[in-house]
Symmetry: C2
Subunit: 348 residues, 2 copies
Amino acid sequence: MGRSVAGETGAAAGRRGTRAVSMADVARLAGVSRQTVSRVVNNQACVVEETRKRVEDAMDELGFYPSFAGRSLRGGKYGCIGLCMFDITRAGNVATLDGIVSAARDCGYAVTLVEFDEGGPVRLRNVARRLAELPVDGMIFNTNRAVEDFDEFKPVPGLPTIIISMKEHPRCTTIDSDQYGCSRMVVDYLRERGHAHIRHLAGPEGSITADFRLRGWADALDAAGLERLEPLRGDWTADSGYELGVKLAQDKDMTALYVGNDQMAMGAMTALRAHGRRVPEDVSVVGVDDSLQGVVPHNTLTTVRFDLRERGKRTFDHFFAQMSGEERVEAVRLPGAIVERATVAVRP
Amino acid sequence: MGRSVAGETGAAAGRRGTRAVSMADVARLAGVSRQTVSRVVNNQACVVEETRKRVEDAMDELGFYPSFAGRSLRGGKYGCIGLCMFDITRAGNVATLDGIVSAARDCGYAVTLVEFDEGGPVRLRNVARRLAELPVDGMIFNTNRAVEDFDEFKPVPGLPTIIISMKEHPRCTTIDSDQYGCSRMVVDYLRERGHAHIRHLAGPEGSITADFRLRGWADALDAAGLERLEPLRGDWTADSGYELGVKLAQDKDMTALYVGNDQMAMGAMTALRAHGRRVPEDVSVVGVDDSLQGVVPHNTLTTVRFDLRERGKRTFDHFFAQMSGEERVEAVRLPGAIVERATVAVRP
DNA sequence: AACTACAATGAGCACGTTAACATACGGCAT
DNA sequence: ATGCCGTATGTTAACGTGCTCATTGTAGTT
């Protein structure tokens, strides 16, 4: 905190005497009733051209903007969605945010953004409380980290709630890129190309995304009856990928490496090459996220691409459906697609 | 559009009979007046413990949340800032957004995010109109592209407005990373290390950031009386950097290359090496943004780092100052810092 | 002339909250 | 007993908008 909070300044500072212009002010200047001003603002018929003109002039002169408070107090709706995210700066989240914002805009909604508290364990209930006191008609949570009260959380009555998460929720619709399915897809893709020794370099513990990607890989290997060696865990950075790639270079049986994200894949690939393993001739490498395009020159990494902007759009669509009366609770998983570049070879 | 917009659903859908719980409902259940409920909600003194308890129980039972509309109608403040950005997904913007959101939160503000319309020329006036009808106490614009009515734009009376932009504005405080100064800094840095033939690979035309970085480089060379060859222009991607790097490899006089961002620098560096120019022995390379850390293994690029999250925080600070009555219009430019890695050599 | 039909506008209320003022009550000094 | 004070609570009014209903004005029909 430190400084005074918004609530306090509200009463104290006000608009320093410059109280915003109201419809009554406009009506007075234009010599009409407030209701006529209201009609002009809302583009209703039944206003004669000359009156409309006079009102519009008065609005311009006074710099009138309809008060959101008054309007929504009457209508009951704000036209805003509350969105809560863990870490906006993580690459995937931004695209999703962007998708939500633009889909919302198309339906006349704005997006109010808050971040999860960082210190201490996270509880959806607390965030929901905070959002419920903001001018929002519903909520979207993006929970890609562990949440204490995930299962017992109950959405605020009257406020449709969607959760972006791989974990299913008993009362809320969840939506996410299919982090589990993408791994099975990659394993199938590699098996079709003759690979039987497929190792995995996963993201850090505590990351739900990393866990689901890992589980998908493990289940796919088990289902296919392939040998499954212990996966390694990095921290999503290229340098951690390099470090673990050095270890993996020792494994002469490995013919394919599936890495939990592209940056680590980049690191691992560099390490493999530096230690005499050719890519893709000796070892095929597949990443996830397709995040290197434009960042690295001549990007050749075969990877899985999720349309995260689309994920945001779909999230809003489900939100909008609930706003419109849809009651169904479902778990939507959006599939990724393999982007074939040049780091996978076919085994004889 | 296509579907109905928020405004329309407001009246039509309502909360489908589930009108939100009001203070009056709580008061009735607890057997007190609305005012007493209000006092409990706002943690005011002068409520006897037993009454408070009864009211709180009633609130819990009914699932009461104070209505933002009613509250702000009375108080005149919303506790929300409107933020308008061009493209959230551009790397720098996210960090800034994050800084604003977290600084705002510390002062009890939420951030309502909208994007600039994409089609057609952009006018601040239109965006301001849209924001002014949302529940916001002020606005922040992030304008890193050309805006049609930049100079003549007048902020909405009563709504403090800050613009994140290198261009100065006659009526609004502007703030930005010092895109101009960083280039001068880089040129000085290279001159101190004996370089006299410093070329520039700039970002695309139409990017204000690219223009200011270019102008800083040009002015610094002119001021030092150094030869200034025509700069090349890429599109921020590593591949465009590579392509132009191939051309620059022909220039045997060039001893230093200053590139408008790190990704192009990465591409250019790769091209230079591929064409027999050693980095940094033959050519020193400096980028801007420090955006490769964690993305590329063993990142060695010397670059300029801006603390963009800090930029967001500072932006909010200036906004908050204006909310508190500060009238001053200023142009704040936040300096970057050179991150020394291994792509600059000292000339004999 | 008296009527209906319709267009244009106005009056009044309701939404949920809170500041300002009003009331009730017990305790204490005069 | 009277007056005063402080605490706890209730009452009233106001914030700005938009819906419903009422009123006025105008044109057309009988």
